[in-house]
């Protein structure tokens, strides 16, 4: 925990510093993007249909004349915030189940982890597809679908950490002193689990982001005209041979975000990871 006072301690190479910079930039854009967009991202302009990049429209215009730069910037909010929503909810649900399972032990623990094991295996994309189909296509459905298929990762991880912490002597001490359960969880388990969980979060961001944009691409996530990166690519597909910019720029946005989060997650793991030495 202490190491987080210096927020950038873990980036070593220039490459990693650049990645961290991009991550901060993307987070800023996803918060303030709507204030700095040059045009309304959903404003249709048929005279500007499929215009190539120019001074007025640096990234060109899409099939309905919407400004691609504005859409990519404002799409950061949809894509990145829905990614963070998924991860946050999954973190809370998964950790609750995992920590509960570790404290409960015995057959409850056994059954919960068996279910998580089995669940973990199923292809998340196809499970999400089934879920989205049941709920009807929308960005919310895609978010729910991913939450539904992602929780076992965190349940297993937090259970593993909790078991590790529970085997430490200070827990035995706390036991003797009669520390209540909620104090054990909030003051003993959670602070110690923080490092490992933050690594997992950083590494999961790109996977969740790729899944959300993938779901939007095949039409079960965000719907046009919402400027989600995946649905922008789906929208620009038909014109790709004449207007590459409509497809290329949102794709680059996904790629650079996913890549940067991966690099940062990797650096975090290298520097912080005491428990899982997976490289």
């Amino acid at each position: 925990m202490k190491s987080f006072l210096n927020l950038t301690f873990f980036v070593k190479s220039p490459f990693e510093k650049l990645a961290l910079g991009i991550v901060f930039f993307i987070i800023l854009i996803s918060i303030f993007g709507d204030f700095i967009v040059p045009y309304d991202p959903t404003q249709i302009d048929f005279r500007g249909k499929l215009q190539p990049p120019s001074l007025e429209h640096p990234l060109g215009q899409d099939g309905a004349g919407r400004d691609v730069l504005s859409r990519v910037l404002s799409g950061a909010r949809l894509t990145v915030l829905s990614t963070f929503t998924v991860i946050f909810v999954v973190l809370v649900i998964g950790c609750t189940i995992g920590i509960f399972s570790a404290f409960a032990g015995g057959w409850i623990d056994n059954i919960l982890m068996r279910i998580a094991d089995i669940w973990l295996g199923f292809p998340p994309l196809i499970l999400a597809l089934g879920f989205a189909a049941a709920l009807g296509a929308s960005l919310e459905a895609a978010i729910w679908a991913l939450i539904f298929s992602w929780w076992p990762n965190y349940a297993r991880l937090s259970r593993m950490i909790t078991l590790d912490i529970l085997s430490k002597p200070f827990i035995a001490g706390a036991e003797v002193l009669g520390v209540p359960l909620w104090r054990k969880v909030t003051f003993y388990v959670l602070p110690n689990a923080f490092d490992v969980l933050i690594i997992q979060v950083a590494l999961d961001v790109s996977a969740v982001m790729l899944s959300i944009s993938g779901l939007s691409f095949i039409g079960v996530g965000a719907q046009i005209p919402a400027p989600e990166w995946g649905s922008m690519i789906a929208d620009g597909r038909a014109h790709m041979s004449t207007a590459w910019w409509v497809v290329v720029f949102p794709g680059l946005a996904i790629f650079f975000s996913a890549l940067s989060f991966n690099v940062v997650g990797d650096a975090l793991r290298r520097e912080l990871d005491p428990l899982i030495r997976r490289v």
């Binding site: 292809p123 089934g130 189909a133 095949i218």
Partner: protein, 335 residues
């Protein structure tokens, strides 16, 4: 034998949970299925009649038993958009997808295993950094975007490979026995068909495999690095065993099993990811079928695809685990 038994029980349990999930998925459809099935002009009696016919008035547990019973007979229901039994649809759509996934898996293995081994051997050299950079980039590329770019650049602009379909136009009348065109081409001795089908597979299979290759490469590298640090490698070196011998004879067979488990899981994930690729390349297959079903809100067809992909996933894992067990009798069941 004990291990085999345990492994089968685990698979059966997984299958049970899978059917439970698909059952629940088909339950959460908005609206009353009896009202939908009866049509807009049906009276209350007709709806009630249908409700009991469809078993909707029974408790949920009993409905689940009926559902499982139907599954056991291969009855997956009827598709709303093809107007055919879903089972027939899937039998038709599965071979092209499996063919695609198998080729993608071959690409994955051919890249991941040797590169992972070599970058572990030359850990922290420039070569290793390059491999890791490749893995990083691969893990960040959206499959559908790569597929579109490759299709337009290599297929469209450069015209090196076909952009869509499974076979060229002149082979449109070709029919095989198995639905796997590569296999059919070989069986019937039609090498022209074989190579034509292969050409059509390269771009989609490569786009599909890239993300998985990146992950497979990382996992292989990690496993091999920890293997290279073991004492027996040191012993082999002191006995002046040649470096290729150490790499291929000692380290590789010992370090491969954990990554093989991951490749087994990837098989099912790839089959799921065909939803992103098949539509782009205009290939028939369960991925495209699932996307179509979703856009037509044909929930039963989607759920059936979830079920089939899940079953393929379970089978692939079972096969890999049993294979590892047979290859390595010491058993690695206490992972």
């Amino acid at each position: 034998m004990h291990y085999f038994f345990q492994r089968f029980v685990f698979s059966l349990l997984s299958l049970f949970i899978l059917t439970l999930i698909t059952f629940l998925l088909s339950q959460v459809v908005p609206g009353d299925p009896a009202i939908v099935a009866a049509g807009p002009n049906a009276g209350a009696e007709k709806i009630e009649l249908l409700r009991s016919e469809m078993g909707l008035d029974k408790p949920l547990t009993q409905q689940f038993l009926i559902y499982v019973g139907k599954l056991a007979q291969g009855d997956l229901g009827k598709s709303w958009f093809t107007h055919q039994p879903i089972l027939e649809d899937l039998i038709r759509e599965l071979p092209p997808s499996l063919e695609l996934v198998i080729i993608a898996m071959v690409i994955n293995l051919v890249i991941s295993l040797p590169l992972g081994l070599c970058s572990a051997r030359y850990n922290d050299t420039r070569f290793d950094s390059l491999v890791r950079l490749f893995a990083m980039i691969g893990a960040g590329l959206p499959i559908f975007w790569t597929a579109l770019i490759l299709q337009n650049v290599i297929g469209g602009e450069l015209q090196l490979l076909p952009i869509a379909g499974r076979l060229s136009f002149e082979y449109r009348a070709f029919e095989g026995y198995t639905g796997f065109f590569l296999l059919d081409g070989l069986i019937l001795g039609r090498l022209d068909v074989f190579f034509d089908a292969l050409k059509h597979l390269i771009l989609p299979a490569f786009s599909l495999s890239l993300l998985f290759t990146a992950v497979g490469l990382r996992i292989t590298r990690t496993a091999m690095i920890s293997e290279f640090q073991k004492d027996y490698v040191l012993l082999a070196r002191t006995k002046a065993a040649s470096e290729p011998r150490i790499m291929f004879k000692h380290v590789f067979p010992n370090g491969a099993p954990p990554s093989l488990t991951v490749f087994g899981m990837q098989f099912g994930w790839m089959l799921g990811a065909t939803v992103l690729v098949e539509e782009i390349y205009g290939r028939p297959g369960i991925g495209r079928y699932a996307v179509k079903a979703v856009t037509q809100s044909d929930i039963h067809a989607v759920v059936a695809v979830v079920l089939v992909v899940g079953i393929v996933f379970l089978l692939a894992n079972l096969v890999v685990d049993l294979l590892l067990y047979i290859l390595n009798p010491r058993g690695r069941m206490d992972k």
